[in-house]
């Protein structure tokens, strides 16, 4: 119960909390003070009444000494009549040594309750009883007793309590008014700061700044937030500039590599052409060795040509356009397999295709990606290649796996193979320029995914890459499908 109240309190706005806290403290303090005062008043007034009554009894008792000593009833009654001046004394009596009542005085309308000496002074049943010895020269002569009504006491206490309750009410009212204005300088700056922070969080407007007003700590807070915002703004600016720079540099690089590849191909074509001419026209006239040299030059030129082609292909991998259509991977795989038909038939390779999803991307690039990977799987074989292509959904991406039973890759090389021109084996063993996987990585990264390989030498490899998924519901991009619908479990 207490915990729930504390939770509710903690959930209140700051203004309300301050209000409740201040009022609570005020109210508690006031109540405590009033209660203490009331108790002290009651106690002290009772004591005062008692002391006064005792003194009165002693004074009148003194005047009654002779009356008691000589058992003179008339005189005893006469001296007791002096109590008529005190409105709270309702009855007074004098007793001789034997306890017999010598004198009596009763206020108007009172019935006697002091037939016998009460013997003790004290409060009993709404009345104060006083009983005092009467002595002369130290010798006990008799006793005097009073009965005092407490009505006056209660009346006074009631008056006091009423006054105090009014004071309490007034003080609380004043406290409420004061609290309203007191908590303002405390809660206003915090609320403003909170509002600013919320605005920045919701709109991302890092140009706003918090007002550095209010108490010491609040100022510190606002200052810190503003400096953070400064920093963020600066970082954003730097990032933007860097991005612009990168984009520019990338564009230049692409343009450069594209152009230079074309420019490179031109002289190469000349070389190939003339080597060919040389071989055809004058080949017969050349000695064996010279013909061999020509062949070497020709193959070198051809290799260079294929290298340039690969570099071009790499440079041509652009970022897929935003809002690109959804591509059916099954169709992509079908096209790649078709392109690799000669190799597949030659090696007797089997390509098993499990259900594949629709992804967002550029079709030609995806075909090249799949084709490169399947091609590698066939190339780096140790027995009849068996290739399985599968897909698994993880959140908003698909993880595509192309598994083979090839020669595998040693763990220390797993990262190297994606780097440009990194070949793990000589060109004589397996063909290729060492650029295929680099192109694969570039394509996957352009699609916002990542590519990696898991492998066991002597067993096989599993090349995996992630691609963004496309929701196959209404409003999604239309799916581009191939003309060949058969795509699973195909054996050439």
């Amino acid at each position: 119960m207490k915990r729930r109240m504390r939770e509710r309190f903690a959930a209140l706005p700051l203004r309300r909390q301050l209000f409740i806290a201040i009022l609570g403290v005020c109210g508690a303090t006031l109540l405590f003070a009033i209660a203490c005062i009331a108790v002290i008043e009651a106690v002290s007034y009772r004591r005062a009444l008692r002391d006064n009554s005792v003194m009165l009894a002693d004074v009148i008792g003194k005047a009654s000494e002779a009356a008691i000593a000589f058992a003179d009833r008339t005189e005893a009654d006469r001296t007791l009549a002096a109590f008529s001046v005190d409105t709270s004394v309702r009855e007074a009596a004098l007793y001789d040594l034997g306890g017999g009542r010598i004198g009596i005085w009763l206020a108007a309308g009172e019935a006697s309750r002091l037939e016998r000496d009460p013997a003790l002074t004290g409060f009993d049943g709404g009345m104060l009883f006083v009983s005092r010895e009467i002595r002369r020269e130290g010798r006990l002569l008799g006793r005097i007793a009073l009965r005092v009504d407490l009505g006056g006491l209660y009346q006074r206490l009631a008056l006091l309590t009423t006054a105090q309750v009014l004071v309490l009410a007034g003080a609380l009212a004043a406290a409420i008014v004061l609290t309203r204005s007191l908590q303002r300088p405390l809660s206003d700056p915090i609320q403003r700061l909170a509002a600013t922070a919320r605005h920045i969080a919701e709109t991302g407007d890092v140009g706003t700044r918090a007002a550095e007003t209010g108490g010491h700590e609040l100022r510190d807070l606002a200052y810190a937030i503003n400096r953070m915002l400064d920093r963020i703004e600066g970082q954003n600016r730097t990032l933007r500039e860097q991005a612009d720079e990168l984009r520019r540099s990338n564009d230049e690089l692409e343009q450069f590599s594209y152009i230079s590849s074309h420019d490179l191909k031109e002289p190469l074509r000349m070389v190939s052409m003339y080597i060919d001419l040389l071989a055809t026209k004058y080949g017969a006239a050349l000695p064996e060795q010279a013909r061999g040299y020509l062949a070497t030059v020709a193959s070198g030129a051809a290799r260079m040509h294929s290298l340039i082609e690969d570099i071009l292909a790499y440079a041509r991998v652009d970022r897929p356009r935003d809002g690109a259509t959804g591509i059916a991977l099954e169709a992509v795989v079908a096209e790649a397999v078709e392109n690799l038909r000669p190799e597949i038939e030659r090696t007797g390779a089997q390509v098993r295709v499990q259900p594949l999803p629709v992804v967002r991307g550029a079709r030609s690039q995806l075909v090249q990606l799949v084709q490169n990977l399947i091609g590698n799987a066939i190339k780096y074989r140790r027995e009849t290649p068996l290739i399985t292509i599968s897909a698994r959904r993880e959140g908003d991406r698909w993880t595509i796996a192309i598994d083979d039973n090839g020669i595998g890759i040693a763990p220390e090389h797993l990262d190297r193979i994606f780097v440009m021109f990194q070949r793990l084996h000589g060109r004589e063993a397996y063909g290729g320029n060492g650029i295929g996987l680099t192109i694969c990585r570039r394509i996957v990264e352009r699609h916002g995914g990542r590519i990696w390989v898991e492998s066991q030498p002597g067993v096989g490899s599993s090349f995996r890459f992630t691609l963004p998924a496309v929701e196959a519901d209404a409003g999604a991009a239309p799916v581009e499908r191939d003309a060949c619908p058969e795509a699973d479990d195909r054996t050439p």
């Binding site: 000494e65 002779a66 000589f70 058992a71 002369r136 020269e137 010798r139 002569l141």
Partner: protein
């Protein structure tokens, strides 16, 4: 048989007579007790001058002049009591000379015949004279007991007390019936 009855009768008669004689005696005894108490209480409401005492530490003496009617009452009353620090003593005497120097002198009824003579001897004494002889205070001064409707009251000769240097408290004066004015007549 007749003798026995007669003896019994006389025995009963004798007892009855005895009882009758005792009644007033019982009454008298209660009165004596009250008077004895009053006698003692007078010492609380009267102040004696220094010259009434032989020495600062001399005892306070109550003299009984004549045949003591109080029996043991007064002795028991004053046993261990003091008057302003002075222990109270009783002195019994037949003549004024024997009780001279007592601060209180009670004149017993038995002195009635020669009271004037004895009072004359004690005229100058700073003593409180108390008696229940009729008109005692009027005639000789001091305090006189009077019976009033079964209650014991007293008369007080204020000028006599004043003359002797005794100060009676206002409360005592208020209770008493003030009498006298001149000296005791011979």
């Amino acid at each position: 048989m007749e003798l026995l009855t007669r003896c019994r009768l006389s025995a009963v008669l004798a007892l009855a007579l005895l009882a009758c004689a005792c009644l007033p005696a019982a009454e008298a005894s209660r009165e004596a007790a009250v008077k004895a108490a009053f006698l003692h209480k007078f010492t609380l409401f009267v102040e004696w001058p220094e010259r009434a005492f032989a020495a600062p530490d001399a005892p306070f003496e109550i003299g009984i002049l004549g045949e003591d009617p109080f029996g043991r009452f007064l002795d028991e009353l004053i046993a261990g009591e003091t008057v302003r620090g002075r222990p109270i003593r009783l002195r019994r005497g037949r003549t004024a000379a024997e009780v001279a120097g007592c601060q209180v002198v009670y004149v017993c009824p038995s002195v009635s015949a020669r009271v004037a003579v004895e009072m004359a001897l004690l005229r100058e004494a700073p003593s409180l004279m108390v008696s229940d002889l009729p008109r005692f205070a009027d005639t000789h001064g001091g305090i006189g007991f009077i019976a009033d409707d079964g209650r014991i009251r007293f008369t007080l000769n204020a000028s006599d007390l004043e003359r002797r240097g005794l100060k009676a408290s206002a409360q005592l004066l208020a209770l008493a019936q003030i009498v006298g004015g001149s000296d005791a007549a011979r």
